[in-house]
Amino acid sequence: MAWFKKARTPIAAPDKASRVPEGLWVKCPECDAIIYTRDLVKSLSVCTKCGHHFRLTARDRLLSLFDGEHWVEQDADLKSNDPLTFTDTKPYRARLEASRKATGLPDAILIGVGRIDGSETVVAAMEYAFIGGSMGVVMGEKIVRAAETALARRLPLIIVSCSGGARMMEGALSLMQMAKISAALARLDRARLPYLSILTDPTTGGVTASLAMLGDINIAEPKALIGFAGPRVIEQTIRQTLPDGFQRSEFLIEHGMLDLIVDRRELKATIARVLRFMMPNDAA
């Protein structure tokens, strides 16, 4: 199948400084603690004092989940060709180029196949630094291919969301990725294969209203912003200020929309635990 021909050899752990702001020390925006960068990297970018979760890059996310920090990247060469020739205050092509330079990624998602606690798993991780992790045609295609790989090889699928929603610069094509991905997830569902949705700060818009809410288990990191409409849009509509903690993980679990909230440092173990429940005993 064409899906596999672009598979890459395992990637060595890249420059770890990309995980957190550069420099020896980092100040936590929540508790103002000064943290030694090396300690922060060790704690998966979670503040060692207050537990604040710094945002992870897509690559660091995969590093945090796969055994031995190794995986085979899938479909690394897919790029957007700017199908609408979209221009706002800047041409979309320029935004794409700038994001590619800044992140070293072709678009806002990275797909890897590797092992989690010994079990082979397909993981998709979104990259917020790439146009807000927005979902366009490349993200849609790569996630669908990931789901089809999981289906063909009977592997679990995990998607780590970190996105402001559909990518405006690809118009209704972006919107349709919601339906396209959900249809692929329907096939996984009917094949009784596990799909875990991991919701991180932020997960909003069309990503929430499709793949992020469709997990067999939906797991959020603490205090992540999770919602459909943006808080500003809601405030403008109802003309009142939103309550504290609105659309945060803790609000969502209270309203029955999440299965659990897990500290990043426990995430891999939790995923492995859940997959043991879902995968047949001989699969590991």
């Binding site: 672009k6 060469d77 897919l78 790029k79 957007s80 060709n81 700017d82 199908p83 609408l84 979209f86 221009t87 706002d88 205050t89 366009g136 045609v137 490349v138 849609g140 295609e141 669908v144 559909a166 990518r167 405006m168 610069m169 690809e170 118009g171 209704a172 094509l173 972006s174 919107l175 349709m176 990725q177 919601m178 339906a179 396209k180 959900s182 249809a183 692929a184 997830l185 329907a186 096939r187 569902d189 069309g206 929430t208 209203a209 499709s210 992020a212 809410m213 469709l214 919602g227 459909f228 409409a229 943006g230 809601i234 509509t237 109802i238 609105f246 659309q247 309203h255 029955g256 929309m257």
Partner: protein, 321 residues
């Protein structure tokens, strides 16, 4: 006469002339003048509507007198029985579901309902559906599946309702589940985007075997005002945003998102709802026939492939040089 949009001012001028003439005593000359002006209106309208800008199409799609879902239901179907509620929380008035007879067959109808007068618009929450609406729609569609009846979905919403209660009750989950489950419905599903296709709120009832779209309807990932506010940091740039978003029916046909454009009467569906219905009827009848003729597994595979291909037009596969 439906209210005129700003760009229809030339029509307004002619209408005023007719009005002035009709005050005069009846005469052959007067009648001839009125006939001449009436014909002129048709040609001026035709000219205007041939060259509508994307923003003007947005205005037509949102026209306060544009036929609503219930208007089409009343004109196209008989024996309509509305069914209510999601059996979880409430009955959402912004989405209508019901059993109907179309020509010689039983079908299920689902559609956003905006309301046609002020009272109705408020009752319908201006077509902004809450989670209950999407859940009611799915419940109704699964009932149709159980009894092997085709489904027709009418799409006309600015967006899903952006409010606290929508978020509390999981509007994202409700839409997401519809996307997943509509992909697997075993019965024929035909979508008609006849007004405003407002992002996820529209898509939440718009996964099907065929997507038909009215000539002056729009379908967008975000309202042009919202897009302008975010990307231009100025919602007044909505005119440019509406052009950039490629939200018109011809654009979406070119992008492979819709299957067919349903023509509208000159001047838009609101100027002649009966003619608009006739045009829709022809397309709907033909499309339902085509989709129903397919064997279930073939239909499901084609539906999957239809959405599977969306976006390919925007992707290149090339190794980093």
């Amino acid at each position: 006469m439906p209210e005129l949009l700003d760009f229809e001012e030339p029509v307004g001028v002619l209408l005023k002339e007719i009005e002035a003439l009709s005050m005069l005593p009846d005469s052959d000359q007067r009648r001839q003048d009125i006939t001449r002006l009436t014909e002129r209106i048709v040609s001026v309208r035709a000219e205007l509507y041939r060259g509508l800008t994307p923003w003007q199409r947005v205005l037509v799609a949102r026209h306060p007198s544009r036929p609503t879902t219930l208007d089409y239901i009343e004109r196209l179907f008989t024996d309509f029985i509305e069914i209510h509620g999601d059996r979880r929380f409430a009955d959402d008035h912004a989405i209508v579901t019901g059993l109907a007879r179309y020509r010689d067959q039983e079908i299920l109808v689902v559609g956003h309902q905006k309301g046609s007068d002020t009272k109705q618009k408020i009752y319908r929450n201006f077509g902004y559906a809450r989670p209950e609406g999407y859940r009611k729609a799915l419940r109704a569609m699964q009932t149709a599946q159980k009894f092997g009846r085709p489904i027709v979905c009418f799409v006309d919403t600015p967006a899903a309702y952006p409010g606290i209660e929508s978020e509390e009750r999981g509007v994202a989950e409700a839409i997401a589940l519809n996307l997943r489950e509509m992909a697997m419905l075993e019965v024929p599903v035909v979508i008609v985007v006849h007004g405003e296709g407002g992002s996820g709120g529209a898509l939440g009832i718009a996964v099907g075997d065929r997507i038909l779209m009215h000539e002056f309807a729009i379908y967008s990932v975000i309202p042009p005002e919202g897009c302008a506010a975010i990307l231009w940091r100025d919602s007044a740039r909505k005119v440019e945003a509406s052009a950039a978003l490629k939200l018109t029916a011809p654009d979406l046909l070119g992008l492979g998102i819709i299957d067919e454009i349903i023509k509208e009467p000159i001047g838009g569906a609101h100027t002649d709802p009966a003619a608009a219905t006739t045009l829709l009827d022809e397309a709907l009848h033909r499309t339902l026939g085509e989709v129903a003729a397919l064997e279930v597994n073939v239909r499901l595979e084609l539906r999957y492939q239809k959405f599977r291909k969306m976006g390919s037009i925007g992707i290149v596969e090339e190794a980093e040089s």
